[in-house]
Amino acid sequence: MSQYDINKLIELGGQVVERARKGGADIAEAAVSEGQHLSVKVRLGEPELVEEAGSRSLGLRVIRDQRVAVTHTSDLTPDGLTRFIEDALELVQLSQPDVFAGAPDPSLLSKASEHRDLQLFDPSIDSIDAARALDMAKRAEHAALSVDPRCKNSEGATVSRQSGASALVTSGGFQGGTRGTYASIVVSPVADDHDGKKRSGHHWSARRFFAELDAPEAVGLEAAKRTLAKLGSRKIDTQEVAVVFDPDAARAILGLFASCANGGAIWRKSSYLAEREGQLVASPLVSMVDDPLIVRGPGSRAFDGEGLLARKNVVVDEGVLKTFILDTYSAKKLGKQSTGNASRGSSGGVGASTTNFILTPGTITPEELLKSCDRALYVTDMMGFGFNAVTGDFSRGAAGFWIEKGERMFPVSEVTISLNIDELWKRVDAVANDQDLRTSICSPTFRVSAMTIAGK
């Protein structure tokens, strides 16, 4: 069915764990992964890039006398592995004892029989060859460049597919593996504005299963529509006004909340949400869940990075903060239990992270939401990184459309939107029902009753 043999990965992980234990580690955890990908890009109808490759890697965390070391390597030759394990055991002597360091209690670890099949793996994906991917990219770009004579240049269209498998083996007795695939198509047209300025835009589709991608032509057409809509963009006056975030922009704001609700940020006091559990942190219209068990979801998983069974957590319920997002370490630091949100970074380290983090959709359509606005800035793009997690101060560049009496009047660019994010969530006064699970942090359109716009 596929070239990925999870048992082999588990076997390799098991050997590494055993050698590390023999070398003196109290706790050893090995994460093994392998994968391959194909990525093609077409620009102005011609192939520009065909990239194909496979990779394998191994991450290891060892703990000895409550001292921690993390190592990672792509050199899986016998000599490479020996050196890798020695390095970890040498580094662990350098760290200083941390009483909170440790693995989950073995009785909490999940068993393979409990792991749900979440349909994350499309067995046919690796049969998509470069010729087929190039054809799709060409069709997508062609559709974008056939709409309007002002939209005739492009940064290209990219089609890619990737597949992979990973396994986790821990000295506490956990063994688990998973396989996954992901495919995407992106089109990035560039249009000429009347004043000689260029305007770039893009649209994309991404899914676990290749066949579920939007049609290339549809992606191209939408990309052109979005790019053309920006022509004639102008600044607006500095003012305080309602702001509507489209799903892409909304997702970015939701991501900031997720990072502030992360246990790592909480115990470090690096979040404005520290000590706010049980309190009102958003308008009653706002609920947020972290749900790893969505079938074919982009961020889905059956078990977490420490081997705990993955579970759905309600993080915000009608505006009230119910829980932080915790791994074993951050849970211990806060005197709580892990929420099953551990994940292993590329360096081999472990931290808490979201899976599918979703703002619960409302009942009205995004069109109805926009219709109900008297005056508003409808934000479709944001730029920059103006966010201070400790204070919640938020200020970002924004572009989109000016809305008046429910109608889209003209495109807007080169303004900033600012408001402390704590206040921003409390001022959410409408949430729409559009939800497209392209990304693991996913939001519908929503409106904030008033923000400061800096423009002219």
Binding site: E48, L49, N153, V390, A399, V415
Partner: protein
């Protein structure tokens, strides 16, 4: 000869060196389908990381990656494949995969290789990685002690040290065989200060292509204590920060790190791939005025020990100082092999890539706005009401038109020619060419940044340097929260 423990197996001091003969064989396979250019990029990367928080070194880490990327070009199309295993079979498989971008025929490979000989831009013999870990732990502990001693309001201290060796070897079908060992260190300190429940964060960091000699600068600048005190000063200053005015106003940028604004707002638009494709606002504008006549902008990979410096780019070309803008006139772009061919010019040595897993693109190295004629104090004094930008958090640009956004992590109000109140949550938003035209004063105090910036493009990150003097911009939109400011 180096006494380092760390050598790439494929390098001249490794166990299985790649010589001209092996390179020629692989290039022959890569070009067997008729590609008109091919290159091999071998890379061995080792990095170490040490992170301190709550007064202890909490984790030490090491990471090793190695592989070969094979690129084959046919006209404007690129075939790319990479492998991690450096066995003859695996390397040939990668070469065959990349070769498929071309359809027919074979292209001859070079008989001999030329070896570029530029050295001396950074120390290659002594590696931070070879120094005993206890010494590095002590650097972090010193920062922790200094930060806590600096002010009782400091409630958290985080310090980290990252060290790296990147050893690369390239062979090209145009007959270049280049080898380089590129070291890097990066140190950073972040603190949180709490004043009766009001919290603010401050940070300081630096580094470069060097070993631990980074810390040994006279007068203690760059020492762990110096960075710790700077981070504390930043956090404490921000405790008093007030809402920022919003709207267009005069802005003065501090020297050094403000160069990141120039990097984003102007630099990217001068990377020749965007101009080859006609997707940059600087396309077709060579010889035209694109900035005020005070401005001369260069990209210089030769600065000693700077984070963006390289002896050889990732296509085997040696970068020299490239002038991009001279007295406000656009005079050149930054090229890789591909864009240079398109523009019928020589590559400028700006072809860089994140790793063997990625193809090269024109990228900046150290991008500098050179000094102007004005005394920095006179620049501040000339502003009736405006914003002084001292520390930048990061920024982003829309290459197609130069629109940019930058967030400031430390900024102040300027009132009647004096720097006064610290401001919070400030963004600068504007347009690169527009801002460059509005530079009305330029200081004589040119500084280069202290090795903290990483640039992202098309998902690839590379280390860069930036630099500039004090800059006055006549009008930029300041994104603040205070209305009617």
């Amino acid at each position: 000869m180096s006494s380092s423990r760390y050598h790439a197996p494929f390098g001249p001091q490794g166990g299985t060196p790649i010589d001209a003969e092996i390179a020629r064989k692989l290039l022959t396979v890569a070009l067997a389908q008729g590609g008109d250019y091919a290159d091999l990029f071998f890379e061995y990367g080792v990095s170490g990381s040490y992170s301190l928080e709550e007064g202890i070194l909490k984790a030490a880490g090491r990471s090793v990656s190695m592989g070969l990327g094979v690129r084959v070009m046919k006209d404007d199309a690129t075939g790319y494949a990479y492998v991690q295993e450096l066995t003859p079979e695996a390397m040939q498989r990668a070469a065959r995969t990349a070769a498929q971008i071309a359809a027919s025929g074979g292209t001859p490979t070079p008989k001999t290789f030329e070896v570029p000989g530029v050295t001396g831009r950074y120390e290659q013999q002594i590696l931070s990685l070879d120094v005993a870990g206890e010494q590095k732990r002590e650097l972090l502990l010193r920062a922790d002690r200094a930060a806590r001693a600096a002010d009782p309001r400091v409630i958290r201290v985080e310090a980290s040290l990252h060290e790296e060796l990147r050893e690369v070897l390239m062979a090209t079908s145009t007959g270049k065989l280049a080898h380089d060992r590129q070291p890097m260190v990066r140190f950073s300190v972040r603190v949180i200060a709490d004043d009766n429940g009001k919290r603010q964060t401050g940070s300081s960091g630096g580094g470069g292509r060097m070993s631990l000699e980074y810390f040994d600068v006279p007068q203690g600048v760059h020492s762990p204590e110096w960075h710790a005190q700077e981070a504390v000063r930043h956090a404490i200053a921000m405790l008093d920060a007030r809402e920022s005015p919003a709207g267009e106003m005069e802005v003065v940028l501090a020297p050094g790190d403000s160069g990141i604004l120039l990097h984003e707002a102007v630099g990217h638009g001068l990377e020749a791939d965007f101009n080859r494709k006609g997707t940059s606002n600087y396309t077709g504008r060579i010889g035209q005025r694109v900035a005020s006549e005070l401005c001369t902008v260069v990209d210089d990979a030769s600065l000693h020990g700077s984070r963006g410096s390289i002896h050889v780019d990732d296509e085997g070309n040696t970068p020299e100082r490239v002038t991009l803008i001279q007295d406000g006139i656009l005079v050149g772009y930054m090229h890789d092999q591909h864009s240079a061919k398109h523009f019928k010019t020589k590559p400028t040595g700006n072809g860089r890539r994140e790793s063997f897993q990625a193809h090269p693109m024109p990228r900046m190295t150290n991008t500098l706005l050179l000094a102007g004629p004005h005394d920095p104090d006179s620049i501040i004094r000339s502003v009736k009401k405006g914003v002084y930008a001292r520390k930048f958090g990061g920024g982003q640009v829309d290459i197609s038109n130069g629109d940019f956004v930058f967030s400031l992590t430390e900024s102040y109000l300027i009132e009647d020619g004096k720097i006064t109140t610290p401001l919070k949550g400030v963004n600068l938003i504007g347009n690169g060419p527009d801002v460059m035209a509005k530079i009305t004063m330029l200081g004589n105090d040119m500084e280069t940044s202290d090795g903290i910036w990483t640039c992202g493009k098309d998902g690839q990150s590379v280390p860069v340097g930036v630099g500039c003097p004090t800059i006055k911009i006549a009008s930029v939109t300041v994104g603040g929260t205070q209305m009617g400011g």
